[in-house]
């Protein structure tokens, strides 16, 4: 008995020392600390280097596409790591940034929604401003990635201009005009307003068992993204929610009885939402370019989907991504060059053809490969042209400061309580939002 214990201890000791050694070794990779962005090493053209690109979901960067870069830069090998979900990538990025940037990829992909927090720590990223990329993107794409001191921390990849996706068959059954052109006019064409959208919704629901839209929160999201300063003043100070008449107005609109009568009362991305695609749950959806993918995934076998080139209240952008270069990287300058190449209009068109990521680069909009793009699932809708037009219609760049999402959550929760949970009436839900806002302690 005693002998086995000793042996066991010896084995444990051995294993443990190996583990300790392994931990000590792995530290080497990241001991570089955080150089300030000025003194990052300039990439020269002869030493062989490997650049890593960390993305998530599907950016459309195939191995062939990345190999093209090595053709022009023989000393550079590009490797991509892909996280299955953007949340995983986000946790990885923030945790490693917090630890000083050790272990990050040379190029890190981010989503637009992460930017309000990341621009606060802009010094952890390389300033990507450069004459080469001047004017590559419109203001609504670059502004969210620009820090207070004017540094650009991300190069735009794709973007989410919003149109209306709708069920042509359900429109027809309800006796409404159903071709994409007719629906565009029905909803008000270029002068489409939210009131008009809800008015047509009333006509539709009077004659149909289906709801008009899927989720009040989705509608609210579309509306609030058209406000220039929704929850915070442009200097970053929060607007007290109790005094925020614009937001309160939107809240009362989407939770009011008239609009609630049009809702399918679903939370987006929930199981019930998924199921509603199969049982005619709703007829229209606010539809950023990338949403066509999720709709197709869930609505397999349903043939009536189409896209109308219209959006209430002017244009709107929902989502989209960027490539950043963490300042702690050893090959930051070379990584910047790679990021610039990956986000060039020509490369982005290839990525679009690979994965349908709609380009954020103005120049790419007129590329024949884009304008000719159609989507089979949406009855061959000319999605390239439609979303290109919707892109041009985006006029407002909503300001999103450090507290944007904390405050947005308080209102979104209140809408969920009325729309999905039905656990509170309008007044009680708003009071709940005010309480939650006060608990934030801003």
């Amino acid at each position: 008995m005693r002998k086995t214990t000793r042996k066991f201890l010896a084995v444990t000791a051995g294993v443990a020392s190996i583990a300790l050694l392994a931990t000590a070794c792995s530290d080497d990779n990241g001991g570089s600390g955080t150089p300030t962005s000025g003194e990052t090493k300039k990439g020269d053209d002869t030493t062989p280097i490997t650049l890593t690109v960390a993305t998530f979901n599907n950016f459309g960067y195939t191995d062939e596409l990345l190999a093209e870069y090595s053709k022009d830069h023989p000393n550079v090998t590009v490797k991509q790591t892909i996280a299955a979900k953007s949340e995983d990538a986000r946790t990885n990025l923030t945790t490693k940034l917090a630890a000083g940037g050790a272990g990050l990829a040379d190029v890190e992909a981010i989503e637009i929604d992460w930017l309000p927090e990341l621009v606060q720590s802009g010094d952890k990223f390389l300033d990507l401003n450069s004459a080469d990329v001047e004017g590559r993107w419109p203001e609504f794409k670059t502004k969210p990635a620009t820090t207070a001191s004017g540094a650009l921390i991300g190069y735009g990849t794709d973007v989410g201009p919003e149109a209306i996706c709708y069920r042509q068959d359900l429109f027809e059954a309800a006796g409404l005009e159903s071709t994409p052109e007719a629906v565009k006019e029905l909803l008000g064409g270029d002068g489409a307003t939210w009131d008009k959208y809800f008015e047509v919704g009333k006509q539709f629901t009077d004659k149909s068992d289906s709801a008009w839209f899927d989720s009040a929160n989705a509608i609210y999201q579309g509306m609030v993204n058209q406000l220039e300063a929704a929850y915070e003043n442009t200097d970053g100070t929060p607007i007290p929610l109790a005094d925020n008449s614009a937001v309160k107005g939107l809240f009362e609109t989407v939770t009011g009885a008239d609009v609630q009568a049009l809702s399918a009362h679903l939370g987006q991305w929930s199981g019930d939402w998924d199921a509603a695609f199969q049982n005619n749950g709703f007829a229209t959806m606010l539809c950023p370019a990338w949403m066509t993918g999720p709709i197709e995934e869930r609505a397999g076998g349903i043939t009536g989907w189409n896209v109308a080139d219209v959006f209430p209240g002017g244009g709107g952008n929902w989502g989209g991504s960027y490539l950043t270069v963490p300042a702690a990287g050893k090959n930051a300058e070379a990584a910047k060059e790679l990021a610039a190449w990956l986000t060039s209009p020509a490369t982005q068109i290839k990525a679009f053809l690979n994965a349908g990521t709609f380009p954020s680069q103005t120049e790419a909009l007129t590329d024949p490969a884009l304008t000719a793009a159609t989507n089979d699932f949406f009855n061959n809708a000319p999605v390239g042209t439609i979303f290109g037009n919707r892109y041009q219609a985006i006029k407002v760049t909503p300001f999103k400061g450090p507290n944007y999402f904390s405050i947005h959550t308080t209102v979104a929760d209140a809408i969920t309580k009325v729309d999905v949970d039905k656990s509170a009436d309008q007044a009680a839900a708003w009071q709940g939002a005010l309480d939650a806002y006060n608990a934030l302690g801003l």
């Binding site: 000793r6 201890l9 444990t12 300790l20 946790t91 917090a98 606060q120 999905v420 509170a424 302690g441």
Partner: protein
């Protein structure tokens, strides 16, 4: 360790004083070997524990008394302000309620079911290994996958469980609205995953129970139930304590299941199923990135787990001891009585 270090001559055997021998270095080494080696051998555990256990706990304490932003790093020393802030948050108290409720709804049936399943598996079954691996199967499924599957089962409008309830004439349950319903749904996920795992631990303990005890019990006329309560349970007491403690720790740290229970992962619009670990995560790693406050929550959770773990330890000890085997006090009293009899 075969080399005996030179010790001072034992006085009664060799009374004559001897010249002190010069102690060679190798002998000194041997002496160190005897004295120090055991500690050296067990030190890796303590070093690892220090690095991965104690240090983080203490450092979390250090973070908790500072203003600390996840990305911008350390701020001013604020004393216990973070703790005070946490106590003022309605969400914190809600999260405690939810955590305790989910813990009770999951752990209690889980441990009881695990013991019963283990007792069944301990019988003479055909295809033993098949059944034993079968109960472990849910444990192999990743929690997030469990979350996705149960998300479909427990969907409010389109879920399978509500359809079944409809068949037997029960109104659909709003699994994602009512707090208690959501807790039951989450506890179901937890139980699905852990019951089989615990059952195997119990099974291992049950197989170590000497069979003579059962034979004796049978001769004494004990039925199956009586054998179970009077032989099996007392014999696996240590394991019961172990499982109760580990499932207490696990149960109070439930995270994956509530996080994937809805797509937002924030614990519901009214925080119906926000658990404390989820609250901790959302405070520190999303939204406000308030690491200082998250650290304070972590410490409070640590203290809570410690308290409930201790309470469970004593309760289980009591229950498992029962009247089947006498307590130490009783044994001592009996010994005293025996000695008193013998002396008189």
């Amino acid at each position: 360790m075969s080399v005996q270090s030179p010790v001072e001559p034992e006085s009664d055997l060799a009374p004559a004083p001897r010249q002190p021998r010069r102690v060679g270095f190798s002998q000194t080494l041997s002496r160190w070997d005897v004295k120090v080696s055991p500690y050296l051998y067990i030190s890796p555990f303590f070093i690892l524990f220090f690095i991965t256990g104690l240090f983080p706990i203490l450092y979390t304490g250090y973070v908790s008394v500072h203003k600390w932003h996840l990305l911008q790093g350390q701020g001013d020393f604020v004393g216990f302000d973070n703790f005070a802030d946490v106590f003022k948050q309605k969400d914190f108290w809600l999260s405690l309620r939810n955590t305790l409720s989910i813990f009770v709804i999951s752990s209690v049936p889980q441990v009881i079911a695990a013991i019963l399943i283990a007792a069944l598996l301990d019988q003479n079954l055909r295809a033993k290994t098949f059944w034993r691996m079968g109960v472990l199967l849910p444990y192999v499924v990743a929690p997030v996958a469990v979350g996705l599957i149960f998300g479909r089962l427990f969907a409010d409008q389109s879920g399978l469980i509500n359809s079944w309830l409809g068949v037997i004439g029960i109104d659909p349950v709003q699994w994602h609205v009512d707090p208690l319903s959501s807790h039951i749904a989450i506890a179901t996920m937890v139980n699905f995953r852990w019951t089989g795992y615990n059952a195997l631990i119990f099974l291992a303990a049950m197989q170590a129970v000497p069979r003579e005890l059962y034979e004796a019990a049978i001769i004494d006329g004990a039925g199956r139930a009586r054998q179970f309560f009077s032989v099996t349970i007392p014999q696996i007491r240590a394991t019961v304590i172990f499982v109760v403690i580990t499932s207490t720790i696990g149960g109070l740290q439930i995270f994956d299941e509530p996080r994937v229970f809805d797509p937002a992962g924030a614990g519901g619009a009214s925080r119906q199923w926000l658990t404390t670990t989820l609250y901790l995560y959302n405070t520190g790693w999303s939204g406000q990135y308030n690491l200082g406050r998250a650290a304070a929550i972590a410490w409070l959770l640590f203290l809570l787990i410690l308290a409930i773990g201790m309470a469970n330890f004593f309760v289980t000890k009591k229950i498992a001891t029962g009247d089947a085997s006498p307590s130490k006090k009783k044994i001592k009293a009996a010994q005293k009585r025996y000695e008193a009899q013998r002396n008189s």
